[in-house]
């Protein structure tokens, strides 16, 4: 049956997000390359999506009526892989094969490799167009499922994004919800230094999108915004999810240097310790 996890309460969802963050640290430590800050910052968004918002069935990944989650910024895939594993699309242990030879967990996601992956992404700006295509197909087929697309803010530099926005606005794709990870960092620094995006909300609105701004590290706000988007009948919706890059790991938070870096063993221990102690009930064995 679709999404048996949907009955988790908010506290349980927060615990799940913490599990996903620990998965991410363990994966990156093992892989020794990849991105840290983005995936950690998005753990709450992906927990909300996979454990509350999406209609999906891990036992039947190709179920025709499933909501589609299109990841446009492929480099944050550790959070997607962790959310899929925690949803039981594949065994948790397989997360440790990330980026290794022969793994189904490619450095950037490949739709043909792993159940639950809807699209291939990596070169930025491509996922949103694919999401628009899926939304058009759903309309053509009179299907009721929704298309969710997760984009990064640095990705907004790509011209293709704005081509896709125009098309979605033109076709009034109300079955499309984009969640934009507004963490203000990209590889070369802060987004407003590299290529200013603001006023982002007004830009999207002028492209005929409905825009909601939320705290992207607040699971309740993510769920509420996704529900609100379902009630918008004449436009696609953008949810600007303000997130803290590296969220949950003190020394990574707000530091753009962790965008494209992974922790070494000592740093990973410290990161896991940060995450474990946030649970409150358990005192860390590392203290």
């Amino acid at each position: 049956m679709p999404n048996k996890n949907k009955n988790l309460n908010i506290g349980e969802l927060q615990m799940k997000a913490n599990d996903i963050r620990q998965d991410i640290i363990n994966m990156l430590l093992e892989a020794k390359s990849g991105h840290s800050a983005g995936p950690l910052g998005l753990a709450d968004v992906f927990t909300a999506l996979y454990f509350k918002v999406l209609n999906h069935d891990p036992e039947n990944p190709k179920w025709i009526g499933r909501d589609r989650l299109v990841l446009s910024c492929g480099h944050v895939c550790p959070v997607l892989y962790a959310a899929l594993a925690e949803s039981e699309y594949f065994p948790i242990e397989e997360l440790m094969t990330l980026r290794k030879l022969g793994s189904r967990l490619q450095g950037h996601p490949h739709n043909l490799d792993l159940p639950g992956i809807e699209n291939s992404s990596g070169p930025l700006g491509q996922g949103l167009s694919q999401a628009v295509g899926m939304a058009l197909a759903a309309k053509l087929d009179h299907m009721q499922h929704r298309i969710y697309c997760v984009c990064s803010d640095g990705e907004q530099d790509e011209g293709q994004i704005w081509e896709a926005l125009m098309m979605a606005g033109k076709r009034r794709l109300n079955n499309l919800t984009v969640i934009l990870d507004r963490n203000n960092i990209q590889i070369d620094g802060f987004t407003e230094d590299v290529m200013p995006l603001e006023p982002l909300k007004e830009k999207y609105e002028s492209f005929n999108w409905h825009v909601i701004e939320i705290d992207g590290n607040n699971i309740r706000e993510v769920v509420d915004a996704c529900n609100q988007a379902k009630a918008i009948y004449e436009k696609p919706t953008l949810i600007i999810a303000h997130t803290i890059p590296g969220k949950g790991v003190g020394f990574m938070e707000f530091n753009y240097k962790w965008h494209g870096m992974t922790p070494d063993k000592k740093q990973a221990e410290k990161a896991l310790n940060d995450l474990r102690t946030m649970r409150g009930a358990i005192k860390s064995e590392h203290e």
Binding site: S120, P123, L128, S129, Q130, V132, L136, E163
Partner: protein, 341 residues
């Protein structure tokens, strides 16, 4: 020359290819003149009727890519994407991943030209069932000049894994290729042309992706050509025949997957090959033939096509002549290569 090639031929044990679809030159000269893009448009109308999954996208080029009739008949399955080829290719991938069979229609310089990254990742890597239609290829685009004359499109598509690349020789074949592409599960590129060109492939000729057509038998040289310029190869073979040179003409309509068996067989039979295409000689039909023969059965090859240069404005026939893709250029190339045998 003929004696020499026959001697060589006798040492070969492979079956000797012979013309499957003989094209009498007299008939060919009377052929109707229709652009290959018209065949594409006709096939779309047929597919609209027979296959509800077929959808068509264009980037502000509905009329000149011959998708207008489909738009008028099946408006709900037609998507006007505006002048935005990168998004068009990505949207097509999304439609395909949702079970549709999108035909992405533009000029080849724009798509797959500008949309190559999207073709690579969203389509080819993802094995999305997208059909990419590149119209207005070759110098025969004419007066619009170099910017609009796609001469690199075959190279940039055939180097991508999971792709099929087809160059129809005439309008009928473009229709056949379009219908065949719809039946293939995976990315297919079809290269079309703007100008009127002869409809000369015999009506009964069977079209099969990856199966080259031998249009004229011969033993001295094999002319392996792709696209409407195959006709020029036939005209050249007729001239050569009168001079006692027996040239074989092969319509190599599928560059990928290449018909290796036929090409190796004709190389063995003739001992010399001339390739002809309205494309850069780097990466197109000639390259594909040379890559195959160099590794399997090396014979002297002359490559006709664009030799590392852009096109320019002019009338199509002037440009085809200037850049050495007309019948006279083929005759000269054949004579050159016979000296190397």
């Amino acid at each position: 020359m003929q004696t020499k090639s026959k001697t060589k031929n006798n040492t070969i044990s492979d079956p000797i290819p012979s013309a499957e679809y003989v094209t009498p030159i007299a008939d060919a000269l009377d052929a109707q003149q229709i652009p290959t893009r018209d065949g594409y448009g006709q096939a779309l109308l047929e597919l609209g009727e027979t296959n509800p999954d077929v959808v068509v996208l264009t980037g502000d080029l509905a009329d000149s890519t011959r998708t207008l009739d489909f738009k008028n008949k099946y408006p709900e399955r037609f998507f006007e994407m505006g002048v935005a080829e990168q998004n068009m290719m990505g949207v097509a991938a999304g439609l395909a991943l949702a079970g549709k069979i999108p035909f992405v229609s533009s000029y080849a310089t724009f798509s797959p030209g500008r949309s190559w990254d999207q073709l690579r990742v969203s389509v080819a890597y993802s094995k999305a069932n997208v059909k990419i239609i590149g119209a207005h290829t070759g110098v025969s685009v004419g007066p619009d000049g170099a910017t609009h004359q796609a001469l690199e499109d075959v190279a940039i598509v055939r180097c991508l894994p999971n792709t099929t690349v087809i160059l129809p020789a005439d309008a009928n074949q473009a229709k056949q290729a379009t219908l065949a592409a719809a039946a293939v599960d995976g990315p297919v590129y079809i290269r079309l042309t703007r100008e009127n060109t002869p409809v000369f492939i015999p009506a009964g000729a069977e079209f099969s992706i990856g199966k080259a057509q031998i249009l004229k038998d011969g033993t001295d040289v094999a002319i392996i050509a792709s696209g409407p310029v195959v006709y020029n190869a036939l005209l050249a073979a007729d001239i050569l025949e009168k001079e006692g040179i027996n040239a074989m003409v092969i319509n190599n309509h599928t560059i990928k997957p290449l018909d290796s068996d036929t090409i190796i067989a004709v190389a063995k039979r003739c001992g010399a090959v001339v390739t002809l295409e309205e494309h850069q000689i780097m990466g197109g039909c000639g390259s594909a033939v040379c890559e195959l023969l160099a590794q399997n059965y090396p014979v002297p090859v002359e490559m006709l096509g664009m030799h590392d240069s852009f096109g320019e404005s002019g009338e199509p026939e002037q440009l085809i002549k200037k850049y050495g893709m007309d019948k006279d250029a083929v005759v000269e190339a054949v004579k050159r290569i016979l000296k190397k045998k």
